[in-house]
């Protein structure tokens, strides 16, 4: 079984690949830093892209509960926690 730390590393790679972030290495992303707006500066389409890729890769389901999504997408750590609890593959 993967540990949460591994998932976090995988997620960073996934984010950089899926969003084709230039000049950013997976290791540059801080586990606790915010992803959107002030952090990596990801926008609405990026969030959508990330959600689609997460669903494809981990079989999780991301719904439209704004408060829950606020928590899930707050940082890589929260994303990893969400994946760990909800993954189907």
């Amino acid at each position: 079984m993967q540990t949460s730390d591994t998932i976090e590393t995988d997620l960073k790679t996934l984010i950089v690949d899926a969003l084709a972030l230039e000049d950013i290495e997976p290791s540059d992303i801080e586990t606790d830093a915010p992803l959107f707006v002030e952090g990596l500066g990801l926008d609405s389409i990026d969030a959508l892209e990330l959600a689609v890729v997460l669903e494809e890769n981990y079989g999780v389901k991301i719904d439209d509960d704004p408060e829950r999504n606020q928590v899930i997408f707050a940082s890589v750590r929260n994303l990893a926690e969400f994946v760990r609890q909800n993954r189907a593959k």
Binding site: A18, L19, A20, D43, S44, A47, L48, A51, D64, P66
Partner: protein
């Protein structure tokens, strides 16, 4: 909210007094609008001249002058009046012709949701009402805090309406997720794609519209390419007294486009949307309802010697006319 009472009154007047009573109201209102908002007056003449030049002098068939601007504003006023009457319960007094609605029924029947693009052209309320009539789950995307007010407004008029207003902040990362969830539930999300939401950090593309560069948001097209969902246009034009034609066209059946190809693909879809707008303007020149400086300033092709109408008009979506839509 007093406007609901006003609305019911207008619907009542329409039912009891008919078109004669309504025209008594509509003409003075149009006249008032025309003189009250000089920037809008200038913008309609700018639009008509641009259209005339783009169409090689065919539409309008003569050099636009004051009375044509007047006709344009009157057309807007009649349209607004009809919308109010329709929402006030007078929907059945209108006759609707349909074209292309089978696309919508096809997807709705298969439980497949999609994105529907409208414009401030013709009566953009009518498709919502039609959707409610036929049980097509339709969400209207709105980018203002007024969306809250609008929802309660519609709910009061028609509590059974299947139409929902999505309140979204264009700068929020959640916008895409909210749309995704609804489309995946087999619902439709309608976006008026001819204006850029105020205060947004949208990806903007400049596309020639009627031969002059104008700004459009790429996001609705990127959304469709990212989700791989059907993308349709829906316009509803007034074809006569109490008569409307609702036309649905399919832009793409929807496939997920890989990220590297997405921008050019979205741009191509945007260009097709703009071409659709142009054809509507050619066919229904007085039903384009963006009464502000629509085109890029200094973007080339600007009409010189058009009466200096550029000076008083404001760009962007903050002119009084631009904000008057529901």
């Amino acid at each position: 909210m007093g406007s609901v009472a006003a609305l019911r009154f207008m619907a009542w007047l329409h039912r009891s007094g008919g078109r004669r009573a309504s025209s008594l109201l509509v003409r003075p209102i149009a006249r008032y609008f025309y003189w009250r908002y000089p920037a809008s007056t200038a913008s309609t003449l700018d639009y008509l001249r641009t259209l005339r030049r783009w169409s090689g002098g065919a539409v309008p068939a003569h050099e636009p002058e004051q009375r044509d601007g007047h006709r344009h504003v009157l057309s807007f006023t009649i349209n607004t009046y009809d919308r109010l009457v329709a929402w006030g319960g007078g929907f059945r007094s209108f006759h609707f012709d349909h074209r292309g609605s089978e696309h919508l029924f096809h997807y709705a029947g298969n439980g497949r949701g999609g994105i529907i693009l409208g414009a401030h052209l013709g009566s953009f309320d009518m498709p919502r009402i039609l959707a409610a009539q036929y049980g097509v789950p339709l969400n209207i995307l709105m980018f203002t805090e007024r969306a809250e007010m609008i929802t309660s407004f519609f709910e009061r008029i028609d509590p059974a309406s299947m139409m929902r207003v999505l309140r979204l902040d264009p700068s929020s990362a959640q916008t895409g997720l909210a749309i995704k969830a609804r489309v995946e539930r087999g619902e439709f999300v309608a976006i008026l794609a001819d204006r850029i939401p105020p205060g947004s950090s949208e990806q903007i593309e400049i596309v020639d519209f009627l031969g002059r560069p104008a700004r459009f948001a790429l996001s609705p097209f990127l959304l469709a390419c990212t989700l791989g969902c059907p993308l349709l246009t829906s316009m509803c034009v007034r074809t006569g007294d109490g008569r409307y034609e609702a036309v649905v066209e399919l832009l793409t059946d929807g496939e997920r486009v890989p990220r590297r190809d997405r921008r050019p693909r979205a741009r191509a879809l945007l260009e097709r949307y703009v071409a659709t707008l142009e054809e509507y303007c050619r066919r229904w020149p007085y039903q384009w309802f963006n009464f502000y400086d629509y085109w890029e300033p200094g973007g080339g092709g600007q009409l010189s010697g058009a009466g200096g109408q550029e000076s008083g008009a404001r760009g962007g979506g903050d002119s009084p006319e631009a904000n008057r839509s529901f």
